[in-house]
C-alpha cells in the first residue's frame, strides 16, 4: 500500500500512516512518501507501538518510509 503524503505537514503524515497501519491486512507492507522532516520523528514511534518495523530511505528532500509488520 502506498501512502503519498508529500506536501502535507504535521500531524497529517503521521495520522495517515497510522490509519494505513490499522487498515492493513496480512503481511502487506506500507510505503509512506513524505517531504516533511518532522514526520521522521513522529511516524517511527507510532509504528513501533503498533508493532511495525520502519526503514527510512532518503532521496534528496524526500523520504520513503517502508513499514513492515514485525514477525
Amino acid at each position: 500500500m502506498k501512502v503519498d503524503v508529500r506536501g502535507e505537514i504535521c500531524p497529517y503524515p503521521m495520522m495517515k500512516a497510522v490509519e494505513a497501519m490499522k487498515k492493513a491486512r496480512g503481511d502487506e507492507a506500507i510505503e509512506v512518501l513524505t517531504d516533511h522532516p518532522p514526520a521522521l520523528e513522529t511516524i517511527p514511534p507510532q509504528a513501533h507501538r503498533l508493532g511495525w518495523e520502519v526503514a527510512v530511505h532518503q532521496n534528496g528532500a524526500e523520504w520513503r518510509l517502508v513499514l513492515t509488520k514485525k514477525k
Binding site: G7, I9, C10, P11, Y12, D35, L40, P45, H48, Q58
Partner: protein, 411 residues
Amino acid sequence: MSAEAVSTRAVRQGLSGQTLFGLLVLVGATLLGLYFRARLPGIALIWVFGLAFGFVLQRGRFCFASAFRDLFLLGEGRVMKGILAGLFVATLGFALVMYTYSPSIVPGRVPQGAPVFPLGPATLIAGIIFGIGMVIAGGCIGGNLYRMGEGYVASWVAVIGMMVGFSLIGLTWNWWWRVAMETMPRVWLPHTLGWVGGVAVTLGAIAIVFLLVIWWESRSGLGSRPPPALPPGRTLGDRLAAMGEGLFRRPLPVITAGVTLGLLNVFLYLFSRPWGVAGEVWRWSDWFAGKLSIQYPELLGMDAVEGCHVGSSVTQGFFTWGLLVNGGIVVGSLVGALMAGEFKVRVPKQRRRFAQSLGGGVLLGYGAGLGLGCTLGAFFSAVPALALNGWVFAGGLALGALAGIQVVRRL
C-alpha cells in the same frame, strides 16, 4: 538499508549542491552582518542570534506546536522534554541576568525586559486561542518563520493570516484591556518568594512537569529509542566527517536543541531583552494597515507592559530588533535546511490546506496579541523570568491544543 548504511553513504557523498548553496547563503548572511555592524551597531549582534535560533530550530525539528499537540494526539513528549530542558537552563540564566539588572526586589516593579504581564482570564484565553491556532496552522509563529526558510509555501500564507489576526486584536485590544487586564495583578514570583524561592519553585515545577511527561509517555506505551550510532571513525577525516554529519545532516537531539535555545535566550536577554517574535509580526501588520488606511484606536496600557507588542521593537529605521530576529530565523533555517539537503519548495496539494494555514494564522495573531507574546515571548521567555503568567499561558496552550486536535482531525 539500515540507518547506519544510509548515514555512511551520506558522509561519503560529500558536499552536495544544496550544501554548497547553504554555504553561499551563510557567506551572504555574514556579509549582511558586517553591514549591520557598520550601520546599526546597537542591534547588529541580534542578527547573529536570529540566525542561530533559526539554525537550531531547523536542525532540532523543534516545533512548539507539536510539543503540545503530540502529548494529546500521540502520547509523545519528545519536543516537550526539549522545551522543559531549555526552560530549566534559561531559568538559571535569566535569574542571573535579572539579578544583574536589579538585585533588590522592589514591590510593584520587575527587572527590565522581564515579561511579567497582568495575570487574569485574558492570559488563559490568549493561550487557548493561540493553542488552537498553532495546531490548525501546523506551527506557532516562530515555527512558521523557520518553515518559511525551509520552503513551506503554506507558512507564508500563515504569516499573512497572523497579520490579519494582529489587526483584529488592534481593533479590540482596548476592550480586553479595560475588562480583563488593567486591574489584574502582575505576579512575579520573587515578590513573594524572594530570589532563591522563585528560582527553586520554578525549577521544581519544571522538573515535576518533566516527570509527568515521562509518566504520560510510558502510560501510552512509548519507549525511548536511541538513534543509531554513527560508524566509529578511525582517521581524522572520518571523525571530522562524522562530526559534520552529526551537526549539519542529522537532526539535532531534541534536548540538545532545547538547551541551546535556552542558552541563546539567556545571552539575548543579557545583550538586550528576552526572545520573542510576535511583536515584530504585529509591526508588519500595523505597517500594512497603515498602507490600507485602517485606523486603530490608541492602544491602552501598552507603555505599561513589556513583552511582544506593536511598539516593543527597538527601531533604527527600516531594520528593527524584531526584523533582525525574525529575518535571522528565516535565513538561519534556510542555511540549516540547505546544509542538510532538506530544502524543498513545498506546496500543499489540497487547496483547503491554504485556508487552514490562513485561518490558523489569524488565531495565532489574535492570541499572541492578546497574550502579549507567543509560545516564545509569553511562555519560553516568561517562565524563566519567574513570571506566573508564563505558566497560565502554557496551560491555555495545552487546552487550546486539545481543542485544535478535534478540529484538525476533521479537516
